[in-house]
């Protein structure tokens, strides 16, 4: 198989998978095998990460594109790993263990949708950078893109959860538990993985040079100063 044929068959498979994300089918690809979802996150997540890091394209700052590419899948998956034990135990206690595989596929489908949506928004971010927004507006623009993509990811996850909730209403409580846990931990993960865009004055680095700090603590301080 030539490289071109391999790429085109890979894209065809990704296309089938992405179209299935929003349309849950009982005998679909995702219900048969969840691992391609992980692949979607790992392949599409870095695309947005790299574009996000492309704020300043001078050679010495372009390393931020590489860092950004690495950080986005870490942000999505590390948060999942941290929340997973608690979510698993709570599902078990509520008697939902038999559905846990389906619940996780719904969650991963939502995250894959988030990664794919982000990747599709990447050109917009680059367009905004090219139009000459300053660093502060770049941050706000990226936050808006993340919010939009998260909303779409949520929709995909909820659509898949709907069948579970119809069978056992306790799934509704678990869905919201996941959303709250994930947001609570995810905000801190994102804060720790800064910088994503890179402040113009600061040197290029994977992590900020200062020791890790708490996002909520920092946010309260910012609010207090206002």
């Amino acid at each position: 198989m030539t490289a071109l044929a391999a790429i085109s068959s890979g894209l065809a498979r990704a296309d089938a998978l992405i179209r299935e994300l929003g349309r849950p089918r009982l005998a679909g690809l995702i219900e048969r095998d969840w691992r391609p979802l992980l692949l979607l996150i790992v392949v599409f997540g870095p695309i947005y990460g790299a574009f996000m890091g492309s704020f300043d394209l001078t050679p010495e700052r372009s390393l931020l594109m590489l860092y950004g590419g690495i950080k986005v899948p870490i942000l999505i998956l590390l948060t999942t790993v941290i929340c997973l034990p608690g979510f698993f135990a709570l599902n078990t206690v509520l008697g939902l263990r038999d559905d846990f595989g389906r619940a996780m596929r719904a969650i991963l489908a939502g995250q894959a949708a988030l990664a794919v949506t982000l990747a599709s928004l990447a050109p917009l971010t680059r367009f905004a950078y090219t139009s000459g927004v300053d660093h502060r507006w770049a941050l706000i623009f990226n936050a808006a893109m993340f919010t939009l993509a998260t909303g779409i990811g949520q929709l995909v996850m909820m659509r898949r959860y709907r069948a579970l909730i119809a069978q056992r209403p306790a799934h509704r409580l678990m869905l919201w538990t996941w959303v709250i846990l994930y947001a609570f931990v995810g905000i801190q993960t994102g804060w720790m993985l800064r910088p994503f865009v890179g402040s113009p004055g600061l040197p290029v680095a994977f992590f900020r040079p200062e020791p890790f700090s708490n996002a909520y603590d920092a946010l309260f301080r910012i609010f207090l100063r206002l």
């Binding site: 034990p85 608690g86 078990t92 206690v93 020791p211 708490n214």
Partner: protein, 267 residues
């Protein structure tokens, strides 16, 4: 090794609810052997305690605090690991007699050991959920220097775990009462040669028991929270010398959490 696998399987079955089915309730919860579940509870409690005490090591402390030595963070880690299961043991000692009596008088008339099994099962579920939230606590521990934040986060995580444990206890007590009160009412009716009681009379018997158990659950939660306060410090202020028990009697759990919440919010 075999006993560890056995214990893990037993824990899993308890969490799934496979050991508290109606058939198990009728035979005094024989499926919840104390010699397995008490060690399981202790291990799970130590796990959460370890995550809790980790802050003492990770937190940046001021140098030269009078009375504070280099070993203090490690002592705090050990103390938290030991004290968290102790918190549940002491709470159980204080509240178990009332559960036994309430249950004997108005509920399922469980015998002494089965009542203890039931309460231990609830504690195991509480601690299992707590330990499973441990990674979240650990994650914030490595990235947080704020002592107030850790207090509030611990109160929230243990609060969630406690609510799940008590929810399980209340659910099981209700089903037990349903099974036992109605069985014994039918028995009494059969002895007297009367037809079995029906409808509203049945429902009323069960409702009274449920109300009394709800009151007990509130007592248990309040005692547990205050016991945590008496056994403090669990997290260990980074700028205070290590103490096994802080000793001073003033204050209580709720005013302290409220104080740290206000401090965190800068109010």
């Amino acid at each position: 090794m075999a006993s560890v696998t056995h214990a893990i399987r037993a824990l899993d079955e308890l969490l799934r609810g496979d050991r508290t089915r109606s058939a198990d309730l009728r035979v005094g919860l024989a499926n919840i052997p104390l010699r397995i579940f008490i060690p399981v509870a202790i291990v799970l409690g130590c796990t959460y305690g370890l995550f809790m005490g980790w802050y003492a090591i990770a937190a940046p402390a001021l140098p030269n605090v009078p009375g504070r030595t280099a070993a203090d963070p490690w002592l705090q880690l050990i103390a938290s690991t030991v004290k968290l299961p102790a918190l549940f043991v002491f709470t159980l000692i204080v509240t178990f007699p009332s559960l036994y009596v309430f249950n004997a008088l108005v509920g399922a008339r469980l015998r002494f050991i089965p009542t203890l099994r039931l309460l231990i099962a609830a504690v195991v579920i509480n601690l299992a959920v707590g330990a499973s939230l441990g990674p979240i606590l650990g994650f914030f521990t490595v990235s947080t220097s704020s002592y107030a934040f850790m207090i509030v986060l611990n109160a929230a995580l243990l609060g969630i775990a406690g609510m799940v444990g008590l929810w399980f206890l209340l659910q099981t007590l209700r089903r037990l009462t349903q099974v036992a009160v109605l069985d014994s009412a039918d028995e009494a009716a059969a002895e007297a040669g009367a037809p079995p009681i029906e409808g509203e009379a049945r429902a009323e018997k069960v409702t009274t028991a449920n109300t009394i158990f709800s009151i007990w659950v509130i007592i248990y939660a309040l005692v547990g929270a205050q016991m945590g306060w008496l056994l403090r410090p669990f997290i260990g202020h980074p700028n205070l010398p290590f103490e096994w028990i802080r000793g001073t009697r003033e204050g209580n759990f709720f005013s302290s959490v409220a104080f740290h919440l206000r401090q965190l919010l800068g109010m």
